[in-house]
């Protein structure tokens, strides 16, 4: 599919990463985006969308991109996912350059995008099916997971029978059970109502702390970002670029209550201010 040839600098180390929690520091980051720029040209108009974006997701870290709408977040995801080529810059995963290659990440889109003709169980297994990674125990494992995320009894249901929050959990499970290590979550809760949303945040926090996958998360919700992330990249408005990098200091396991601590509120204030400035700028 991809026209790009790539030169793997060393053997993939994927299999070790999942099993051993120790010695992560020696490993290359799960994802490294270096100096990626992208401009869309339509007739004579050229719109720069991403400007020299560099970011890193270390192994088993939860990293968030926080930015105003229209900051090129989705374009960045498309570039990381191999749907589009950057004009310049590279994407590498586990030390290997994979710019423009598809099938390297596990993706969860904004809308659940469950396939209506598949049962929930088959939907969850789709990511493995595409990669030809389905094993004998896959279905059993999927069923157990469905039970764990509160979807027991819906294994053979079709997506339209589920509520929005339940569909989103199934979509998340599809990403979680994918054979790829790195998960890209594109504003997964933006379509949910406030109550379901905070419930889903808590749920994701717990689930992630148990399973510790490398995650790149997009949101424009500041609290959500602070609650979940190890690191936050604050993006500017169009053209998107990294304005600030914030390492979130709260220890894990985190509880929702940290949202009431003065440190949390101070950070939140700081981030809100940056975001407001960006919104104001993009309006001019």
């Amino acid at each position: 599919m991809s026209q790009l040839t790539h030169t793997p600098p060393h053997e993939p180390v994927k299999s070790e990463i999942r099993t051993s929690a120790a010695g992560l520091h020696g490993l290359p980051p799960a994802l490294e985006v270096s100096a990626v720029s992208k401009t869309f040209t339509q007739r004579r108009n050229s719109t720069p969308v991403l400007n020299n974006v560099s970011l890193k997701v270390e192994q088993q870290q939860f990293v968030t991109i926080l930015g105003p709408s229209g900051c090129g977040k989705s374009t960045l995801f498309h570039i990381i996912g191999g749907l589009e080529q950057p004009d310049s810059g590279t994407v590498s995963m586990n030390g290997e350059i994979v710019t423009g290659q598809r099938g390297e990440i596990s993706y969860m889109p904004q809308q659940p995008a469950l396939f209506p003709w598949r049962t929930i169980e088959d939907n969850v297994l789709l990511s493995q099916e595409i990669k030809g990674a389905a094993r004998d125990g896959s279905r059993e494992e999927a069923r157990q997971w469905l039970g764990k995320v509160g979807l027991a009894g819906f294994e053979r249901a079709y997506p339209h029978m589920l509520s929005g929050g339940m569909q989103q959990r199934a979509a998340f499970l599809r990403a979680l059970l994918a054979p790829q290590e790195l998960m890209l979550l594109d504003e997964p809760f933006s379509a949910l109502d406030a109550l379901t949303r905070s419930e889903m945040q808590r749920w994701l926090l717990e689930l992630w702390e148990e399973n510790r996958r490398s995650v790149l998360f997009i949101t424009h919700n500041i609290e959500e970002a602070l609650l979940l992330s190890n690191r936050i990249y604050v993006f500017s408005g169009r053209p998107g670029q990294v304005l600030h990098t914030v390492d979130v200091p709260f220890p894990r396991p985190r509880r929702e209550e940290i949202a009431d601590t003065p440190e949390f509120l101070a950070l939140k204030r700081q981030l809100s201010q940056w975001m407001r400035e960006e919104q104001a700028k993009s309006r001019v």
Binding site: Y107, P109, A113, F115, E129, I130, K131, H160
Partner: protein
Amino acid sequence: MRSSWKQIWPPIVAVVFFLAVWQLAVSFFDIEKWILPSPRDIGHEFAGNPAGIWDHTLATLKLTLIGFPIGTGVGLLVALLLHLMPWAKRAFYPLLILSQNVPSIALGPLLVIWFGFGLLPKMVLITLVCFFPVAVAAMGGLAQSDRVMLNYMKMAGASKWQIFTKLELPHSLPAIFSGVKISATYAVMGAVVAEWIGADKGIGYYMQLQKSAYRTDRMFVAIVIVVLLSLVLFAIIALLEKWLVRWKPRRNP
């Protein structure tokens, strides 16, 4: 059960009413039987195996059951090829529409000249009437895949074939079925026209015989049988659809 009964009774009442008016009109105005037979006459004729009509029905049924799958298959194949090759779609789509402007009744004699009186010209004719609704419906369905799902498939590293079998094909099934249902009714009609043009058995042939003998009642018997055949074929396809597209929410979005 109750709701389906609610849906069924209005058309039944309408048909019964229509037949009653027909019956009354024929006896009231004293219309000759060779011009317009009454429903009772037709029913009577129907019951008595008029001139071996069931053998003819069987022949037409056979023709339909061979021609319909071929026509549908060709339609799907055309849709698939044109879907996979967009340049071919641009080139041939207008021609496809043009092919439907040629009346099949005019094409029939030509086909007989080229292919004789055997099975082949009949298959060609049925295929020509059947493939079009299927091809158009399938192409429409295949082209309208959900963008988000398509992006998901691509990012997950799905091959073109996987995207086709796991996304585009199931996504277009409802559209394909609406095409297949139309071509099911066309198939019976196509078979009758084909027999009309050159055959020694079948409903089309039978109609021609009865027409020459001014047996209008038997013509009507033939019409009733053609309608019934179409209905049954349509119903079978509809059932198949209901089973294959069972994932679709009941109410229309």
